[in-house]
Structure formats: C-alpha cells, structure tokens
Amino acid sequence: MNRRYITRRVLYGIPLILGVTFVSFLLMVYFGPDKTYELLGKNPTTEQISEVRRALGYDRAFLLRYGDYLRELVTLDLGLSDSSGEPVSVILKRTLPVSIALVLPGFILGNLMGLALGLLAAWYRGKWLDKLVMSASVVGMSVSFLVIIIGLQILLCTPYGLNLFPVRGWQVHDLGSYLYYVTVPTLALVLVTLGYNTRFYRAVMVEEIERDHIRTAQAYGASPRELLFRHVLKNSLIPVLTRIMFSVPFVVISGSLLLESYFGIPGIGLVTFNAITSGDQPILKAVVGLTGVLFVLALTVNDMLYSLVDPRVAKP
C-alpha cells in the first residue's frame, strides 16, 4: 500500500470528523435544552443559578465548550445518563453487542441475497427473470419498514397468524433462544433492505458485465461462472464494499432504533429511543457524535481497502 495515499485519506477525514462533531455539538449541546432550572430547587438565588451554570459549563466560551465535547468523545468519558444516572459509556458498552447481534444476520443476509438477485437479474437483463426480480424489488421498496414489522408480527407472532415467535423481548442465553428472538427482526430487516440492495447491485453488475474486458474473456472461452465470479465480481468489489461500509452505521443505528423500540430489545436503539422520548441529552449527544465519528472512520478505512482491491489505486 502506498503511504502517501493513506496519509491523504486520513487527512481528508479530519475536517469531516470536526464537522460531524460540530453539528452534534451545536444541535444538542449549544442549542440543546438548558438544564439549569431542572437542577435547582424553588426560588433559586442568583448565586445558586450561576453556580449551577458554572458546574454545567454553560458559562464557558463557545469554543471551549466544543472542546469539552470533543474531549468527552475521545476519552469516552461521556457523563451520566439523566434518567438512570448510570455512566453513558457503561450503557453503550452493555447495549452495543445486543444491537450487533440483532442486526448482523439481517444485514448479511440482505446484502448477500441482494447481491445474488442483482447478479442474476444483470446476467439475464432484459429477459423475463430480470423483469420479475426488478418488479418484485419495486414492490419491496414500496413497503414501509414499520408496515413490514407490524405485518410480520401479525403473521408470525400472534394467534391471528402462525404464532411461532415471541411478540417482543430478548431473553437470549443460547443459540436456540437467539434464533427464537432474532428471526422476526432479521426477516424484517431483510425485507426492507432487499429491494434497494437488489436494484443497486444489479446496476453495478450490468455496468461491469458490459465492460470490454468481459467480452475479451468470453472470446477466450471463459465460462459464465468464470465471467461472473472472477471478472465481474472482483471488478465490482469497490462499489459493493463501499455500499456495505456506508450502510453499516445506518443499519446498526437506524435499524436497531426501530426494531428494538418495537420489539422491546435492550440494545443501543432502545436506549436511544428512550433518550429521544425522555430528552436524555448525555446519551443522545454521545450516540450522535460517536456514530458520526465511526462513520467517517469507516469511510476512511473503506478508501484504504480500495488500494488492496484495485491495483490502479495502489500504484499510481
């Protein structure tokens, strides 16, 4: 790998990280709710007020406060939750694994199936199979995540349907119970992402299949399997990897937010949902800031992966 390339990528990430943290700082700390009076008794004196404001850091200069926020994010010393009094970092450490366990199978399946269907549709582009797959994906894209969740719940978790799985909860202690609780959320995640994924992957694959070098390989007797799995897939690795890297934070956060608040699963999504409804600022600002930073880091790593995959990037 090329060192200059890596340095450039990392440098490029810094303004983005500053921007992301600055936006979260502005929205949630600077313009966020003023907690002075929540912490004071009735009829506070001026001294009491200014004391609390000093304790909360409200009297410090704008940039210093932003600096404080950055320091909190870097040291992971994120303060105490307003509602439970527990340290935010402890809460996050406890809930993140649950969320990952919840969304990972759906995320992987959704991408694999999308990739497979996209490849299939691209190979048979213009034929009936392509049309079938593409029509189905438009239907899939038109169903709201919430409708999918409620619909699956009726079908699989209630006596009005098959009644096979739990309505809500997360009592996971072994593989059996994991599958018991994870199946319906996984299906929901797959259904909601499959349409978009299939369309995206099909477009990528069609572009790759129509490249000149595919025809060359064909002219030298490469079988369809070689064409697809050697030439097309390896060339499309960059857009595919990018999409996967890009969507990780979104699926983990957005997916778990809805799934966990709906199914009552104690992951980071439920914590965030509760923080939204109760206005728990320390949790919210930590979650928003950290996901932003993680996302930018993922982007940077992704750019570096390019150079492993694509010789054109590695050796300019």
């Binding site: 000149d212 070098h213 030298y220 007797g221 079988s223 054109r312 050796k315």
Partner: protein, 322 residues
C-alpha cells in the same frame, strides 16, 4: 486444394428492432488459408466488427439473429456449437484481438494471470508448465523482460505494450485463426509498425490464418496477401492485395483507394473522397447498396442486387466494374 484454415459460408446477421429486422451482415462468404493474412476493409459502420463477433459467436443471443450455412476452422464446422462446446474452440482454435487495448484487458488481474487462465483452460498442464508457456508467448511478441510484464497490471503498461500482451494472449494456444479487429487504430505510428511486424512474424512462424479488420489501406497493403472490401454488410470486392491496389474493379474500392494520396497520384482521379454517407442498417436502397453514391450508376443498378462473381480471380459485385 487444401482445406482453408477459416471458411465462412453465407453468414448473415440481422438486428431485430421492434417489429422489423435489418441486415447488418448480408450473406457473406470467404475463406482464408493457413499462413495467409486477409484484410477486411470498409467505412465505419459497414459491419466489420459484427462479422468478426458473429464468427466467434459472441453476439448477444437476444435481439440478434445470426445465420450461416457453415463456419469452418480447418474443415470443422463451429457454427452450430453452443455452451461449453463453443467455449472449447474460443482461444484455442480461433482467437480475437480487440481494437482498444486500454479497456480490453481486465484491470484487476495481472497480464500473467489473464494469459495463463487462457492456457490453463485450453491446454492444461502443471503450474510451472503454464507459467513457462506464458513467458514464452510474451517473449515471442518481443518483450525482453517477460517476467515483469507477466507480473504487471494492464494500467502499468503503455497502449502498445498492452496490445502486444493481447497478441501474446491470442497466440499462447497457437490457434489456427486470429481475428484482429483494428488492432492498431488507437496507437501511434511507430507502435503500429511494431504490432504489425509481430503479427506478421507470428503468422509465418505458426502458419496462422489472420483476418485483419482495418480502415487503413496502407496497413493492409503492407501486411496482407488478400483483401475484401465490405459495404453495408456485403462484400463488394474480393481479391489479392496486389490486384486491388494496382487495379480496383469496383467503383467503391476505387473510391476508397483514391482517399490515400500517394495512390491516387498514380491513377486518374475519379473520386477524391467518396461523396455521401453510409446508409444506416435498414435504410439500404433496394438494388446495389452503393448506387446512391456511385459515379457509374445506371438504371439497372437500382433494380437488382449485383452478386459477387466468385468464379473470377478478382471477384466484384458490380454491373459495371472498372
């Protein structure tokens, strides 16, 4: 007479667009002997690339209709082959060199990988043997450091070097026939000479039959023995190079020749550049397709299509040849 290396009988290609279908290639026949280079020349859009792709069976299977009574390589008909039976032939008995070396090679594999994949597929053998063959074929096209080239990715080489590597890939299994579709069009003059020289050398060395598709008559004169002039999907003149350049019989061939300055000096200038444009496929006139642009047109030309008088040594499809 010995069997020709490549014999094409009555090849037609039709594109289906909506309800109607149009001929891009219309009943052409020709043959090339081993060790012989034949040129296919004609203006852009006349169907040269389509002809080449049709011979290899590389046209898409929907929207296109390919027909022929036979396409024979060393006497074996390959026109009916499909699936793995056809793939066996491609690259082993017949190989193609493409016009644009910049995009024709896979950017994410080294040249060595791409060439050895072809050899392994068709000729097999151990790893070391395959590697040896790849190095040999790279050496044969004139690379002095074949190992380095084998380890390189296409983007690391110049256009001319990529095209040489492409030729190495085409010759690694020593096919009987090589189709080169404008192999030098995208290259500069000196590189062009190198490429043509290497093709020429390999042709005499392995007795390969070469079909060279080209716009460039100077190139053709230099490196081919026979030449076929194509217009609107049909062959208008088919002869050996010398006869064509000394005396073109078809008015269209004469027009093409007059476009090359040094040749038009030696003969009475008839058309300096051919006026008018190539009609799009499907908008061909009913009689001789060249009639709208032909200086020798007469009433008969618009009524029926002149056939190629293949019994003659210098065959032409014209009612009033020069």
């Amino acid at each position: 007479m010995s069997t020709p290396a490549l014999a094409v009988h009555d090849l037609s290609v039709r594109f289906k667009t909506g309800a109607d279908s149009r001929h891009a290639v219309d009943g052409i026949s020709f043959s090339i002997d081993a060790g012989e280079a034949t040129a296919l020349v004609g203006e852009s859009g006349c169907g040269k690339t389509i002809t080449a792709l049709a011979i290899l069976g590389l046209l898409p299977d929907s929207g296109v209709h390919v027909e022929s009574s036979a396409i024979e390589i060393n006497g074996r008909d390959i026109s009916g082959l499909t699936g793995s039976r056809r793939r066996e032939v491609l690259g082993r008995d017949i190989a193609m060199i493409f016009q644009n070396p910049g995009t024709a090679l896979d950017p994410v594999f080294t040249l060595g990988r791409q060439i050895s994949a072809v050899y392994a597929r068709h000729c097999g053998g151990g790893k070391e043997h395959i590697r040896q063959k790849v190095i040999e074929s790279l050496e044969a096209v004139g690379f002095s450091q074949p190992q380095d080239i084998a380890a390189a990715y296409p983007h690391q080489l110049s256009g001319g070097m990529r095209q040489l590597a492409m030729i190495a890939m085409a010759t690694v299994c020593k096919p009987a026939v090589i189709i080169a579709d404008e192999p030098t069009t995208s290259l500069d003059n000196s590189t062009r000479a190198v490429i043509l020289q290497q093709l020429e050398r390999l042709r005499t060395l392995h007795q390969t039959a070469i079909l060279l598709v080209s716009h460039d008559l100077a190139t053709v004169r230099q490196s081919c023995q026979k030449v076929m002039v194509m217009y609107c999907g049909r062959l208008l003149e088919k002869t050996d190079c010398e006869s064509l350049f000394s005396h073109a019989r078809h008015p269209y061939s004469a027009g093409l020749l007059s476009c090359i300055p040094q040749i038009s000096d030696t003969r009475p200038a008839m058309i300096n550049s051919i006026p008018g444009q190539v009609p799009a496929a499907g908008e061909f006139p009913p009689g001789c397709h060249f009639a709208p642009r032909c200086p020798r047109v007469e009433s008969m030309c618009n009524q029926s299509v002149p056939a190629l008088d293949t019994d003659k040594q210098q065959a032409v499809a014209c009612f009033r040849p020069l």
